[in-house]
């Protein structure tokens, strides 16, 4: 397989190459770093993923200047999609200033010359590690999620070939038994992040290590979600308006994280995903995880999560009444007494 069609202007000697590397801006590399052949392949995988929601599509993941496990899949997806007119936002654990997010942003601005932003409502492509932003995304936005482990069935079987067969036959009973055994042992489902979901009632999917808080946002959304794993070399997608339901029993419902009525100490919000911080005085305080939105809320406490939409829509807990959110109370057991749980 040769790449004669590649349009990169490769240096004609090692010395010329090394000279090019000294200059800022990675002279000698193709636009957005990846060669055209790679971009074509990645885009084809993306299209195939969109055509079969929740199904894992293998792709020949290239080595990137970032280590495996640090977002190489997400980067390949983003760099294959970014064009000069795009605006790119990168977050890690909800924060734009996270060091790894900054590094990824740097690669994109240097090789693709795109505009960047920390405002989720302004970005056309958002690459994220382990969170979905608080603000509702629209139908012209793409969210690229970084995925470490692509298969929800990995929890019950390490073998990829066995799991592929299960997916092909929609045979997920092992996963269900694992959830059953969870409840038997702990009284509730102890899965935290990477909560397994059914996509379009057909494929079991791993939504990446987003907190349970973010899982309801996947269902019937306006935007496209792309999930990319560089090391495991797989891509999958949830197209707009696709049904995504977390696995749960009718009488042991899916639950999101609770923050016991704590409020963000910076902006006072009580409806965002918070993370706790131990201060130097030994105090435990909470703060918004989505730092960009937190800034906006600090400036304007009345701001809703859909403030930029004409038709405000509920987006996850606790703004969406359909999503069970406990507040102060421990998880509901629908009347069953706590003591007698078998």
């Amino acid at each position: 397989m040769t790449d004669r069609q590649a349009t990169s202007s490769t240096p004609d000697s090692v010395d010329a190459l090394l000279d090019g590397v000294d200059a800022d801006g990675l002279a000698g590399y193709n636009y957005a770093y990846l060669d055209e052949h790679t971009k074509r392949e990645v885009r084809r995988s993306i299209l195939k993923s969109i055509a079969i929601p929740g199904h894992q599509v293998p792709f020949a993941s290239r080595e990137m200047p970032l280590a495996r496990g640090w977002g190489t899949g997400g980067i390949q997806a983003s760099l294959s999609l970014l064009g000069p007119d795009d605006t790119f936002k990168v977050i890690d654990q909800g924060s734009d200033e996270s060091v790894n997010a900054a590094n990824i942003r740097r690669l994109a601005t240097t090789t693709a010359d795109v505009a960047t932003t920390s405002d989720a409502t302004e970005a056309s492509i958002i690459q994220t590690r382990h969170r979905i932003p608080e603000e509702v995304l629209s139908d012209d936005q793409i969210l690229v999620l970084q995925v470490p482990i692509t298969d929800a069935l990995r929890r019950v079987d390490g073998s990829d070939s066995a799991n592929r067969r299960r997916h092909a036959h929609k045979n997920y009973s092992k996963m269900w038994v694992a959830l059953y055994e969870n409840i038997v042992e702990y009284g509730e489902i102890k899965l935290s992040a990477r909560y397994p979901v059914m996509v379009a009632d057909r494929y079991l999917m791993d939504p990446s290590p987003i907190p349970r808080w973010d899982v309801p946002k996947l269902d019937d959304a306006d935007n496209l979600f792309l999930f990319a794993a560089g090391r495991e070399a797989r891509m999958y997608a949830v197209p707009p308006h696709t049904s995504v339901t977390p696995l749960a029993f009718e009488d042991r419902e899916f639950q999101v994280e609770r923050f016991d009525a704590a409020a963000c100490r910076h902006c006072d919000s009580t409806d965002t995903f918070l993370t706790e911080v131990e201060t130097d005085d030994g105090e435990r305080v909470f703060a918004c995880n989505d730092t960009a939105f937190c800034e906006k809320r600090a400036a304007n406490p009345e701001l809703t999560k859909a403030h930029h939409h004409d038709d405000p829509k509920a987006w996850g807990p606790p703004t969406d009444p359909a999503v069970p959110y406990g507040g102060d109370t421990p998880p509901s057991t629908n009347g069953a007494d706590l003591g007698g749980d078998d």
């Binding site: 080595e63 654990q93 790894n100 900054a102 590690r129 290590p209 070399a233 995903f273 800034e295």
Partner: protein, 393 residues
């Protein structure tokens, strides 16, 4: 990391990079040159090339210097660089018999056609620290050797002897006996060449390339060999060792261990003749395993190993794993999926070290769960005194 301008993160990265560089340049010594690394630390650069999957000694030396000697980091730099290169040709299958061997030993036989050539090795040397090296005069101990101008003998491949007798089972399937090296020669021309080593003959013009096609299991043998050739030296060695140690049935006899310069040829674009463009230093191993698939037609299982440079333990480990995977079984080193999943150094290095990345969102979620479970258990204990316990029997 406060709630401030976005540039803060980038500034932090820049400083971290500068501190890293400082470790290399902050002493009283002269900077090591790339040429010095290339000439004097060739085992290091060979390991970087082997795991990086690209044959380019000077670039490898640069990578080793930049990585301050960390082979995983150096291999990573080479892989990342390789993935930006355009591939402009593929070689026809290379014949290891054309190798100019500088070392060839055959443990299977006492004497072999062409002889046992020890070559440059410290295998039989006692491992004693040589303090004289602290004040090196770089004198060449072979300077006074009496070299005779005779042509080197033809080193017939020992495995051919066994094959002629029909004793070796040829691994069947789609790509016949193709051992695929994942390699590019970028020394003089920053383009890609493909060299495919052969067993006994190859009909497949374009073997499976794991850098171009995603691998799914069951995987074809060329894909497995390619991943092993690019695998992390420690991983390949450890897994190979496990087979010998008792976790498997592969206790091989090496037919050959051969080191030398393998000519790299391409088809001339105009004349169509085969033309040598360069050569790569490789080490090749072939082993046979006395495990017979069929009792009525007993044949040895066969394992093949090929690496850049002289890392013999990796070549031998690779041949053990090739045989083990063909034989299949329950032991870890015989499970193709297990071996190929974990043997890649860039994947393992990246994923293990990624644990250093912030995980506080996931952790918040985990804390939420454990607290809920503990609350529930505490409430249950509290309630036990009041609620009637339902008999379950």
């Amino acid at each position: 990391m406060g709630y401030v301008a976005v540039e803060a993160g980038e500034e932090v990265i820049k400083r971290a990079e500068e501190l890293f560089e400082k470790q290399r340049v902050d002493g009283d010594t002269e900077p090591v040159s790339v040429e010095q690394v290339d000439e004097q630390l060739s085992r290091l650069t060979a390991q970087a090339m082997s795991e990086g999957g690209v044959y380019a000694p000077r670039l490898a030396a640069l990578a080793v210097k930049q990585a301050q000697g960390d082979t995983a980091e150096a291999a990573f730099l080479l892989r990342a660089y390789r993935s930006t290169l355009e591939r402009w040709d593929e070689t026809p299958p290379a014949d290891p018999a054309t190798m100019e061997a500088t070392r060839r030993v055959s443990p299977a036989y006492k004497d072999v056609p062409g002889g046992q050539i020890l070559g440059a090795t410290k295998d039989y040397t006692q491992r004693l620290l040589d303090f004289e090296l602290t004040d090196d005069t770089a004198a060449d101990p072979t300077a006074d050797w009496d070299i005779d101008g005779e042509e080197p003998p033809n080193l017939q491949n020992v495995l051919e002897v066994l094959r002629d007798e029909g004793l070796v089972h040829e691994p069947e399937d789609d790509a016949a006996d193709t051992a695929t090296e994942d390699d590019d020669t970028a020394d003089t021309v920053p383009g890609d060449d493909d060299t495919a080593g052969t067993g006994t003959g190859n009909n497949d013009p374009s073997p499976f390339d794991t850098t171009r096609e995603p691998i799914t299991f069951p995987a074809p043998r060329p894909a497995i060999l390619q991943e092993l050739a690019r695998g992390e030296t420690g991983a390949v060695t450890a897994l190979g060792y496990s087979e010998l140690r008792g976790y498997g049935q592969v206790h091989p006899t090496l037919g050959e261990v051969r080191t030398g310069n393998l000519p790299v040829t391409i088809e001339h674009p105009y004349t169509g003749d085969e033309v040598q463009v360069t050569s790569t230093e490789v080490t090749e191993t072939e082993c046979v395993v006395p495990v017979y698939e069929k009792a009525d037609d007993a044949q040895f299982a066969f394992g093949y190993g090929l690496v850049y440079g002289r890392t013999e333990r990796k070549a031998i480990g690779m041949s053990i794993l090739d045989a083990a995977i063909q034989l299949d079984g329950d032991e870890p080193a015989q499970n193709a999926e297990f071996v190929i999943d974990i043997v890649d150094g860039i994947d393992s290095f990246g994923f293990i070290e990624h644990l250093k990345l912030p995980h506080y969102v996931t952790f918040q979620s985990i804390l939420d769960r454990i607290r809920a479970i503990r609350d529930r258990a505490a409430a249950a204990t509290g309630d036990e005194e009041h609620a009637a316990v339902t008999a379950d029997d």
